[in-house]
Amino acid sequence: MNSQMRFAVALALAVASPAWAQSMDMRDMPGMSMPHSHDDHANPADHAKHEDTHAGDAATQPSAQDSITHNHMSMDHAGHDMSSMSTQALPPNNHVAPPPPQYVVHDMTPSQMTELMQMDDAAPTGMVLVDRLERSRSTSGDYATSWEAEGWWGTPINRLWLKTEGERGSTGTQDGRVDVLWSHAWTSFWDWQLGARQDFGQGPKRQWAAMGVQGLAPYWFETQATFYVGEQGRTALRLESSYDMLFTQRLILTPKLELNFYGKDDLQRAIASGLSELEAGLQLRYEFSRKFAPYIGVNWTRRWGSHGDVPDAPEVHALETTWVAGVRLWF
């Protein structure tokens, strides 16, 4: 058990490490300032050369530009762009500066302006994704219906998330959960999330406080890692990652891995401490459209845990293979 827990922590760190790396990059973010003005870069000599005539510009050496460009660029091929025209004076242009406006737009609040411009880059949006809605058949012949869905609503930075997952078999709902989370954009590819989780289905209904990260790990792994703290000193960690492999633009194979760790046994919910559940799956979907894709798949579930301390009670499903068919959709 201890080794499993250590494994869990190591995995959690591995998953979160890119996020930490980003957070270090981010430390000065709020202080970013713009524009960068470099008034002093404009070389007086440059002015003098230019002021005599409009037409003289193309022939002069803009030392102001040089001083800037040297910072990051190699000034290879100096004079490369000098064409025939740049060595002779150009005739004057016929530009006429416009007069000032007669009408000045009245003062308004940012929200009034947003409304008038009909342009709102912070407008809230929402999405509902039913990632799995499927019927499954285990190798032992049991049928079940399971789901995994999430929805979010909010601005680009702050969003309310709802996630639910569960399975309903012949004996009713087993092993369901729903998470309600506040999600905050944290780095380029990662959000942190805070909230609560409610378990339902067989056994007592557990409540947890939730804290995690969700995002896109390097190599395009959609990843979630959530740490939970419950009553009676219970703790749990849930890790989930998936990857889309395109066979064609529409036929997509998604390997998935989900691990659930618990801090202590919960016999009534058939949960063992340490790595309690490992689920690996393959989902092959065909996107008739981005928003509608039926799929088939196979899942391997390994659970550790037993009902009670009765020595002869059977281990709960050491390894279970289920075949699934379902639909993925979003709107």
């Binding site: 970013m32 470099h38 460009t69 150009l90 009909q118 780095t187």
Partner: protein, 570 residues
Amino acid sequence: MSKQEPRGFQLPRRRFVQGLALGGVAAGLGLWRGNAFAQMAAPRAELRGDHFELEIGELPVDFTGRKRIATVVNGQLPAPLLRWRQGDTVTLRVRNRLSVPSSIHWHGIVLPADMDGVPGLSFDGIPPGGEYVYRFTVNQSGTYWYHSHSRFQEQTGLYGPIVIEPRDGERHTVDRDYVVLLNDWTDADPETIYTNLKKQSDYYNYGQRTVGDFLRDAGRDGISKALADRQMWNQMRMNPTDLADVSAATYTYLVNGQTPVGNWTGLFSAGDKVRLRFINGAAMTFFDVRIPGLKMTVVAADGQAIEPVTVDEFRIGTAETYDVIVEPSADRAWTIFAQSMDRTGYARATLAPRTGMSSEVPPLDPRPLLSMGDMMGAMDHGGMSHGMGHDMPGIPMEHAHAAPDLKTGPEVDMRVTTPRNKLDDPGVGLRDNGRRVLTYADLHAVDAPISPRVDREITLRLTGNMERYLWSFDAKRASQAEPLRLRHGEHVRVTLVNDTMMTHPIHLHGMWSELESPEGHFQARKHTVVVQPAQRISYRVSADAPGRWAYHCHLLFHMEAGMFREVVVA
């Protein structure tokens, strides 16, 4: 590596929607619920003079076999061609018969700030049932265009050409003169396209790399090379196929309101000199334009005369205009072929001696892939870790010290620490294609710049987060940013550094953007400057237009997603 064969089980090359032969406005005429004016308007309306009556309304159209409602002017899609004369004071009364507010912006025209047509900055917009009278003196000449600056009305059809006749006559005399207005039409509601991108930013990208591509590359180049190539992109969560946010998966590309099948045709007699005034009025599409068999002499960019330069092909960013002169010498038809930059579709038209003639339409070029240079800029040191200030593990931390303001974050998914500054790169998909392709290095104005000096330097970084579909200047979306303030009368050098993987057409209202070479020499006067990925580009701005102005990426959904700033000249 910058090119790739058609991949996966991709749709056959021509299977994008090419539209109806008799589609467009013709299908909807008669149902125009504006006034009787539209009934008598010719299909290719052009209005000239100094007084114009324009009426914004709705019109049922059918480009693809599905009837949709377009936003139009005087019952026309595109809106009527406006012919002005340099020196005239024009009056344009614009009535709005929509049920929502509207506006018209005169793109590239130097005019007083209250005539610029940006709701919230220039004026209050035109309310439903209301009108606004624009009145200003036209001091420039050349090819321009106008479009709505309200929400997504530009995507649904509110755009039209402007041709301003020079006071002293055209610099190049021609026998025929045509506007070639390029657009992207969609049957989908642009609101839906925008929210789709917000939820899944690669929603319209059906050209992504597949397992099959990997196997083919591995077979051709070896597994380690194929893996190494993918490792870079995948580690950084960047997509080398990300050439256009919206593709022919939903777009049908139009020339003068005609689908590729509809085949707009410009007539000539053998030996004629023909001026084609190309305008990219698309919402989200870059076009690569050529006329197989004919050389094109580019004589103006963004309405401003340039030293003539003869090319086989040019890329036109959204909102840019190019005037070209062609001389079809034989009694045969030529195809004007404008493929989208992502090679998912094309707009097509024909030059022919007689109506009904057509010529072969070339196949789309292979889909290109973004190159390392598009991601990292100048790679003088070779190694990948030198080019980027990306937040991936493995990038040495000293980058953060070297460039303290180059952070990534929710608004920014990548940084380019060593941008490339050359203007002679035609851009992804056009490099080394065997044709002479126009680049910004070819643009040389025929007259002197407006700005004789530089009083101040301003650097702005074009930033974004593709996964979150957020776009910004300097990591601040419009809603988070203070206006950019310019002193009236000062001359500033604006340097744009593109920290994204996308090509952005940046448009400053009210004042010219005088493009410079990397050495600081004046190249050409533009109203829209295309900045390639990982490129650094500079231009001078004479802050001689007092007032409040818009400054933004002219990809419509990038502007909506935050790549917009207010510029105040006072």
